[in-house]
């Protein structure tokens, strides 16, 4: 069962994702350039300066672009508009954590490096301070590698809630859920309280899943189907596809349980 997430996304999210990726790779490249220049300067003042200016004039604008575009993607994917249990999964927290805490660390590195450059201009030694800047840049570069892994691999996401046993009995209500880009169609939008068996069919071209009341199917490949069985008390239950961006694009709705 393929479980790669978000390789295809609703079209409206493409541009902010592009900006986010461009910003992130610019930050990563500038951090590497800075670390390389500072580590290999061998006392050459100009290389120390290039190392610092890579951070200030390349990495900083890249970080701002990455962070703003990340926020844009967050809103476009509707993470603030999904059930509370689904908000901010681990991979998203890692991404925001590295961006925000890394951003603070980055500002500290810039401040220390700035002091070093000013000291060098006045003929004093700033190499020690620039080594601190370089060490922080190394930590940030490692953090960004971890963030890329988390944002792309999305560990512990999408399959966390197991599919319930699909044995039907006379008391269970059967609901057929048809998934496609980017909407769900349910055979019943109102069911009596008790056991409900959802048969989820993916009639789309990309993988989807179906989440309701804290339980989710695994990702379902195009043309395949699976079942999800759970017991629901009376109330109104939101259902969504948890693939990032799919709910915001329309794959969500409410099931009424009488």
């Amino acid at each position: 069962m393929p479980e790669v997430l978000a390789a295809i996304r609703p079209a409206g999210q493409d541009f902010p994702v592009l900006l986010h990726i461009v910003g992130a790779t610019v930050v990563f490249g500038a951090l590497l350039a800075s670390v390389g220049s500072l580590a290999l300067a061998r006392g050459q003042i100009r290389m120390f300066r290039i190392g610092y200016f890579s951070l200030l004039f390349v990495a900083l604008p890249g970080w701002i672009l990455m962070r703003l575009a990340g926020e844009w993607v967050y809103r476009e994917q509707g993470w603030n508009d999904v059930p509370a249990q689904l908000q901010d999964p681990t991979w998203l927290r890692i991404g925001f954590g590295v961006a925000d805490w890394g951003g603070l660390l980055f500002l500290v590195a810039l401040a220390i490096g700035g002091v070093a450059v000013v000291r060098m201009r006045s003929g004093k030694s700033g190499a020690g301070l620039l080594k601190v800047t370089m060490s922080i840049a190394v930590v940030l570069a490692v953090g960004y590698v971890g963030a890329v892994w988390a944002m792309t691999g999305k560990p512990n996401y999408g399959t966390a809630s197991p599919v319930q046993a699909a044995t039907t009995n006379a008391a269970a209500t059967a609901v057929t859920v048809t998934a496609r880009e980017f909407a769900f169609t349910l055979s019943k939008t109102s069911v009596p309280a008790g056991e409900v068996v959802f048969t989820v069919v993916n009639n789309g071209k990309i993988a989807h899943n179906f989440w309701i009341d804290g339980k989710a199917t695994p990702l379902i490949s195009p043309g395949e189907s699976t079942t999800l069985r759970l017991s629901l008390d009376g109330g109104r239950f939101m259902y969504v596809c948890t693939v990032p961006g799919h709910a915001a694009a329309g794959m969500k709705g409410f099931l009424t349980v009488r």
Partner: protein, 159 residues
């Protein structure tokens, strides 16, 4: 994480290494524009070596895992138009980047010769080699091709 999730993750890590290496190499290229001393040229060459290693890791890693994913995933095929476009752009990028490597070896050779001759000061000839129009052109073509691949991957026309 499934095997395909790991493949996808490493595919994008290689891509980040490649683009990061290119950004790094551009910082060196811009720094070389105002460099006319042998010692500084050799210093920046040491930084460029790290960028080149990142590019050399990223180019094959990205394409190999990308094609592997296209074969494994049921909704994609290696003969899809956007994947063929990416492969063609990758070939253009690889050729252009390797050609730019060759161009930027010339100032390194000159700087080494100057250092061996005991001259580490300014050199007009070295300054001209550091501002190589051919090196700049090939690096720009290679970078543009990589940017187009990123756009192709995100927008996936026809996918």
């Amino acid at each position: 994480m499934s095997f395909q999730d790991w493949l996808f993750s490493f595919h994008l890590l290689f891509a980040a290494t490649l683009v990061g290496g290119l950004v790094m190499s551009w910082i060196v290229v811009v720094a070389l524009f105002s460099t006319d001393g042998a010692d500084e040229t050799l210093g920046f060459n040491r930084v460029a070596t790290i960028a080149n290693i990142a590019i050399l890791l990223g180019l094959p890693g990205t394409i190999a895992l990308g094609i592997w994913l296209a074969i494994l995933r049921p909704e994609f095929h290696p003969w899809d138009g956007w994947i063929i476009a990416a492969i063609v752009l990758w070939a253009i990028a690889t050729a252009a980047v390797f050609r730019s490597f060759r161009e930027y070896r010339k100032p390194i050779a000159k700087a080494r010769a100057l250092t061996a001759a005991g001259s580490s000061g300014e050199s007009r000839e070295l300054a001209l080699l550091n501002r190589s129009a051919a090196g700049l052109l090939f690096r720009a073509v290679g970078s543009l091709a990589i940017v187009l691949i990123v756009i192709d991957m995100i927008y996936k026309p026809g996918a």
